[in-house]
Symmetry: C2
Subunit: 427 residues, 2 copies
């Protein structure tokens, strides 16, 4: 297809998605849940077709030289399809955010105001290899009353098509409006820029993938983009920290699952307790094979157990068993370091002093700030949200773990009995 | 200055604004209010300097051929400066949104979560001629704990500088952090694109002005943009409308102040009551000099009192004593017309049937939907917000009248007593 054809196809999908979004506004919570359960059933029914499509992607991936980890992310099997179906049923069981009255009040002229949670409308999602995102994202958007236009990566195109077809056909049997879930059936690069340009149809765009993808979308998009950037997370061990707790938290945050965005990357230690704390955590880190990169003060205390950190280390998300460590003279220095180097995702203070913790939390400009809790709890599931679409590093609209509520907007509904401004103004 | 110099100056302002934003996070509500009152006093003290600067702008405007309306928007005098100062004092009297606990909960592992309202950080505001925006915008941002970088229009540059200087010097005496309010001291077009590019320093950008300005910012900006587009507002007179109320609302919404964004532009009338309603409203409109442009059914009923509407009329914000009128066969047709042609700002239904009103409100995809109330109440003051920075036509973050709350973000503060994910996970 040439650029113009790609553009025409996607623009038509946009117009159809808008119509679907309007149709979705009047579906009851029960109806949406019925549709979701039908989708889950359809996923199971169409397992053979999905696995066959997936085998095509795997074969193509192998001949294109994808590495083992990439092939694993791409691969579906019975258990993974069952997990997708179960995930859909779990979303059906969550409370419907739509229709919630956020605030209401009456003005002196008896005009009554309600602020009501409503769907956003049409959500564009651009993602990379994992085919389960096709279902996860579409289902969360549907539960919150939104139409979706999905654009997956080329490696998973057959799997994505099969999953989207299963969702759509299962959903339609239960009353899903036509075109509520649409997958762009090709993966030309041009499709990203067409999506990013059509702000008449897409209310928001969510890139799920690496920094390169996010950067591309940000530079092209005319509509709001909800970004999920890196997690350069810090833990600050205050001079009033309890040692055993500090060691346990610094251990857990770094080593429990080092490859995820809420893992610890930089440890900041107050000078007053550095000589006590650092050897203790170093012992744990050494036993677990964590490479330590410290500033001069750290090297003084740990000797050859630590390498010398460079300036670049403070801005690096290792996603690996590597940690940068810095000794600070004060909490203010820790806050300053975090506000300069953090990706504003999740940062922690370990201290027994509640007032200092409060000041730290007020000053640290991050989505999630933890006091005496591992940053590994920066997660929609651990927040109790039931399912998450990601962790937003943005400050507008959605910040931190993004779940159903963050996939909604609001509308003011104003009721009266004939009030006109020329007679009933209050200002 | 060449492009590189402009860029350097503005990037430095951005870095300073970020530092100011961090300093603002720990100011108490009382301190901010003290600063605001000092700014108001400073505006009054520096009246002579401001008027002198304004005289330069007026002289330049006259020699550049600005028309009378534009010169009027630009002109300051004692009363207008007093109004700016009073406006600042009114903002000081409003409740501080920062620190509000939006939600809080405890998980089974005793980890406690708080969602707290916090400042956004650094807000960029790009605006056109009125110099009072310099104060209005900076003051609302400050009250909500944000630093601002202001970029006004070239016509008002001297006035803007004098006002910003008065705010800054008055505020500093009372403890305003340095660089909390910065005005870009030149108006080269390049400054807009530099602001739009510096997402490391600006958390959001708010263009206040015409469609051209907003379009430019949208196409360039890497950070979220909160847009205040047109108001193509509709009023739908249902078949169950009370006639006197319908006439009064259609009159008020169109004629009370036709040049504003919440004024009525298109009237939709149910066919069952068209022959009754249209002659009544036409009589009012004729007496007030409103030009009516109708579809065929309207012309049939009103004859030569109405002109024939073209397709373009349904997408036009007249901001004038002109109205387009269409007869619809059903409420569904009215909803469809509105969702196709409305700017999603403010739309109204007049009906005595509460269920139909509820369905209309659920289906109309606009920021504000009114039932038996004139759309002219779509206004921060009439909502009771005290002061507004504009009416957002966006759906993310801020929708409808934007006031102090909409100038904030939130942060999760998570407290525990040593919980680690490897031991205390709940999922």
């Amino acid at each position: 297809m040439d650029k113009q054809e790609i553009k025409n196809v996607i623009l038509e999908m946009g117009a159809r998605a808008r119509a679907a979004a309007h149709a979705l506004t009047i579906l009851s919570a029960d109806k949406k849940n019925e549709i979701l359960r039908a989708m889950a059933a359809s996923m199971r029914e169409q397992e053979a077709a999905i696995l066959e499509a997936n085998a095509q992607d795997i074969a193509a991936g192998e001949s294109n030289g994808l590495n083992a980890a990439m092939l694993d992310r791409l691969r579906l099997n019975h258990d993974r399809i069952e997990a997708i179906a179960t995930g859909i049923e779990e979303v059906a069981a969550l409370a419907d955010p739509v229709g919630e009255v956020l605030t209401e009040w009456t003005r002196p002229n008896d005009v009554h105001f309600e602020q009501i949670r409503v769907p956003i409308g049409v959500i564009g999602i651009i993602y990379e290899s994992r085919p389960n995102v096709t279902s996860d994202a579409a289902v969360l958007c549907l539960k919150s009353g939104n139409a979706t236009i999905l654009r997956g990566g080329s490696e998973a195109i057959h799997s994505n098509k099969a999953i989207a077809a299963a969702l759509q056909s299962g959903g339609e049997k239960a009353g899903l409006p036509a075109n509520a879930i649409q997958l762009i059936p090709f993966t030309d690069r041009e499709s990203v820029s067409v999506m990013a340009s059509m702000d008449q149809w897409l209310d928001v765009i969510i890139p799920r993938g690496g920094k390169g993808l996010i950067e591309t979308v940000v530079s092209l998009a005319r509509m709001p983009v909800i970004k999920h950037y890196d997690g350069i997370c810090h833990t600050y061990i205050d001079k009033h920290a309890e040692m055993a707790m500090a060691v346990a938290i610094a251990d857990d945050a770094k080593t429990h699952k080092p490859g995820v965005c809420n893992a610890l990357e930089t440890l900041l230690v107050h000078r007053d307790i550095a000589a006590d704390f650092l050897p203790q955590i170093a012992e744990v880190y050494k036993s677990k094979g964590v490479e330590m990169r410290g500033d001069e003060s750290v090297i003084e205390i740990l000797g050859s157990d630590a390498l010398a950190a460079t300036e670049e280390d403070w801005d690096t998300e290792y996603l690996d068993l590597i940690i940068s460590i810095k000794v600070v003279d004060s909490m203010a220095e820790a806050v300053e370091h975090i506000n300069t180097h953090s990706s504003r995702h999740s940062d922690c203070i370990v201290t027994s002093d509640g007032d200092r913790a409060q000041l730290f939390m007020t000053q640290v400009d991050s989505a999630c700030v933890f006091h005496n809790v591992s940053t590994r709890f920066s997660d929609g599931g651990e927040f109790g949200f039931g399912a998450e679409i990601g962790i937003s590093t943005d400050k507008l609209h959605a910040r931190g773990p993004m779940a159903l509520r963050e996939l909604t907007s609001y509308q003011y509904r104003i009721r009266g009995d004939g009030q006109i401004r020329s007679k009933n103004a209050t200002t």
